[in-house]
């Protein structure tokens, strides 16, 4: 082999290694300080997959503990042996298709539905009348008293959670002003637009200062402006140390907002854990490469497909991504971008659902 080529390759290899090191450092500090960073975006500006990142350890206190809960209706198990924990200051995603058992699980946490078996603890206590006051719930099915004013509705909902009327009124005022809705405070709910009603309902969910907040499909039906407002409010809650549970069948929403996820399918836990860990587990052993062309029969590659202006190269299992990169360079192919492909939560779900079938 030509000595110049060897020198060039070595230099390129070193450059890539340095890039990896820098990216890894940058990524770590990003996850520590900003939870809103999209893993989707990260896929394309770093060659390091989130799956292999060190996971954020839980230093916080457990706020909710769900242990082996089961619920069946008419002999059909809707929730079967589901367990998970929630920690303070985290946003936790509960995903699964419609009818997977998410809402039933949430209703059991709310003590609206009693589990057939299993235990649920909130802040260390089994569910009781008092624990109901510690939790805020935005149900999937939205609705408020149509003929009540915004202030009266919010105050009533908060006082039902044991908050003093005076304090509830003050806080309602505060939240309304924070979300630019103060002008509507004396309007009847029926006079508001659907999106506004939804924001009011969200305020009603958190007005009594709950420790655990459960949001069932919070973004459905919201326009981008209200959606952004809601996201910001959720992030604020997280930064205050609250536990936020997001339940959704829109997995990309959960993917961008949550640290840990629980995936339910047909009433059973399909996946549970740190989002990055899960992604790493389900990495499909392929890399994305931006280059002009790819010769056939390259060593270490089982196949490749073209996705827009990228090639997705599936590794044959004997080689590492680094081997593939070096092979490409050796073959004189100009590589503009090289990254390890991580599957989206949706891809993972589809894979899990298939396996479970």
């Amino acid at each position: 082999m030509d000595a110049t080529l060897v020198a060039l390759l070595t230099a390129l290899g070193i450059a890539i290694l340095i890039r990896i090191a820098i990216s890894r450092h940058k990524r770590k500090s990003d996850t520590d300080k900003d939870y809103q960073v999209s893993t989707h975006n990260l896929e394309y500006d770093t060659i390091v997959p989130p799956a292999i990142l060190p996971t954020k350890p839980h230093t916080g206190q457990k706020t909710a503990m769900i242990s082996n809960v089961c619920k069946s209706y008419n002999g059909k198990a809707v929730v079967n042996n589901v367990s998970f924990d929630i920690y303070e200051g985290e946003s936790f995603g509960m995903v699964g298709p419609n009818g997977a058992g998410k809402t039933t699980t949430i209703r059991m946490m709310m003590d609206i539905v009693k589990p057939d078996s299993g235990e649920i603890y909130l802040l260390g206590e089994p569910l009781n009348e008092e624990t109901k006051n510690l939790i805020g719930y935005l149900p999937e099915e939205r609705g408020l008293y149509r003929k009540s004013t915004v202030t009266n509705t919010l105050t009533y909902l908060a006082t039902l959670k044991n908050m003093e009327t005076r304090l509830a009124k003050d806080r309602a005022q505060e939240f309304l002003s924070h979300s630019d809705m103060l002008a509507h405070k004396d309007k009847n709910i029926e006079e508001l637009s659907k999106g506004m009603g939804q924001i009011i309902q969200f305020i009603g969910t958190i007005l009594h200062d709950p420790q655990v907040i459960v949001l069932d499909e919070p973004f459905s039906g919201l326009d981008p402006v209200n959606s952004k407002l809601l996201k910001q409010m959720i992030l604020d809650l997280k930064s205050q140390g609250k536990s936020v549970i997001l339940s959704s069948h829109m997995m990309n929403e959960v993917e961008t907002m949550c640290d840990r996820v629980l995936m339910i399918n047909k009433g059973v836990v399909a996946l549970y854990g740190n989002l990055a860990e899960i992604k790493s587990r389900y990495r499909n052993n392929s890399v994305l490469v931006d280059c002009d062309h790819l010769p056939k029969n390259l060593p270490g590659i089982s196949r490749y497909t073209r996705i827009k202006d990228l090639f997705e190269i599936t590794l044959d299992g004997t080689s590492s991504p680094q081997d593939v990169l070096s092979t490409l360079v050796t073959n004189g192919i100009t590589v503009n971008r090289f990254e390890i492909s991580t599957p989206s939560l949706e891809d993972i779900f589809i894979q899990v659902a298939k396996e479970g079938r």
Binding site: K132, Y137, Y145
Partner: protein, 404 residues
């Protein structure tokens, strides 16, 4: 407990602010005042005519009859011939005139001439005419006392005896027939109106999905208790407004309407009335709240409420059977059957026809039914309030009730 009070307060406030509630509450006093106004107006219109003509002419062809004044002040004046009588009738001097033919004693025929059309309502003077004829026929034959009795054969005084042969109270006819009906109708109105509110309130919370938020804050039992008590308070307020206004009204109006003077509401009747009202309300509230949770819309649930309300109002349709024979087997059975008990009892209590054992048994059965229906209702509420879109089948409801 605080949460129950919060729900109670809200439901009471919402109910008493409803236009339909306010209208119904003020309607009874309004109807009473309106009725009184119409009565006064009729009196005013009728007075001149009764002052003007209170004479009846007669042409006597038998020479047996002479002038007569009836006990109610109607005068019978003799005329020489029919022409003169006719002239006076046309001139409105007399109401009518009769001609007594020569063969009257053998045939009994009397010919009456009047300006009234055959279909006109007119005044029925036949009783007075009979009095006039009787007095003239018997005057010479019997003494004055007998004559008076022949004219007014009886002044009826009815006294009811109970099963032990003792006098059963001194209630008058008015109390016996009028009060039970008024009680029954008013209380039925209020019970159904208020428990209808409850059904609507539950069904609306289900329809608007607020129920899920509420149930994440309070238990279904707390929710039911708050609603039942809050709306019950609104119903009780309504009944009290009615009773108070009717009492004040009857006192004011009795100056002009003598019959109202006799309208009295003994305290025991009132107490039992209120007791049955509360019991009746609680029973129907529990049943209708359960029903409210089953339908997917308020309208749907409301249309089913007839299942319970139809049997409940049966005593009102069959009031003649109860009032005419308040101690009969039929009235007794309706008093004991929980759905019909409140209204039947309210209709029977004023006439003092319910034996104490019957009252106790009826209240006991009602109490047990209330507890049972509340319990079942809370279970049904919990099971079906969150079942959106799909209406539970009869079998599912039956299963839920059985499990309860």
């Amino acid at each position: 407990m605080r949460k129950v009070l919060l729900i109670l307060r809200r439901e009471f406030r919402e109910a008493t602010r409803r236009t339909s509630y306010i209208l119904l509450t003020i309607s009874i006093p309004l109807i009473a005042i309106l009725g009184y106004g119409v009565y006064e107006l009729i009196q005013l219109l009728e007075e001149p005519s009764s002052e003007q003509v209170d004479k009846i002419g007669f042409v006597d062809n038998t020479s047996m009859f002479h002038d007569y004044s009836s006990p109610l002040g109607l005068e019978f004046t003799s005329y020489e011939d029919e022409e003169k009588a006719k002239d006076d009738l046309l001139a409105d001097e007399i109401m009518e005139y009769i001609v007594i033919p020569e063969d009257y004693v053998s045939t009994g025929t009397i010919i009456r001439f009047t300006m009234e059309t055959p279909l006109g309502s007119g005044n029925d003077t036949s009783q007075e005419t009979e009095g006039f004829l009787l007095t003239n026929l018997l005057e010479e034959q019997v003494d004055d006392e007998i004559l008076e009795r022949v004219e007014v054969p009886m002044v009826l005084a009815t006294l009811s005896l109970n099963e032990d042969g003792e006098l059963a109270g001194d209630s008058n006819e008015f109390d016996k027939f009028f009060l039970p009906l008024v009680f029954g109708v008013l209380f039925t109105f209020s019970i159904f109106f208020t428990s209808g509110f409850l059904l609507q309130s539950v069904a609306e919370e289900k329809e608007t999905r607020v129920i899920e938020i509420i149930l994440s804050s309070v238990s279904s039992r707390q929710l039911l208790a708050g609603k039942v008590l809050g709306l019950g308070g609104a119903g009780l307020l309504q009944v009290l407004v009615w009773l108070t206004s009717l009492r004040i009204f009857s006192q004011v109006a009795s100056v002009n309407i003598p019959a109202l003077e006799e309208l009295s509401l003994p305290i025991d009747v009132l107490a039992f009335g209120i007791l049955y009202f509360i019991a009746g309300y609680l029973l129907f509230a529990a049943l209708l709240a359960g029903l409210g949770s089953i339908g997917s819309t308020a309208r749907e649930s409301q249309s089913w409420s007839a299942i319970f309300t139809l049997p409940a109002v049966a005593p009102l349709w069959l009031n003649f059977l109860i009032v005419s024979n308040p101690e009969g087997a039929f009235a007794r059975a309706l008093t004991l059957f929980p759905l019909t008990a409140p209204i039947t009892a309210m209709m029977r209590i004023p006439s003092h026809s319910i034996a104490p054992w019957e009252l106790a048994l009826s209240l006991f059965i009602l109490g047990v039914s209330i507890i049972l229906s509340m319990w079942i209702s809370a279970k049904v509420l919990r099971a079906f309030l969150l079942m959106y879109g799909k209406r539970p089948s009869v079998r599912e409801i039956a299963k839920c009730v059985r499990q309860a």
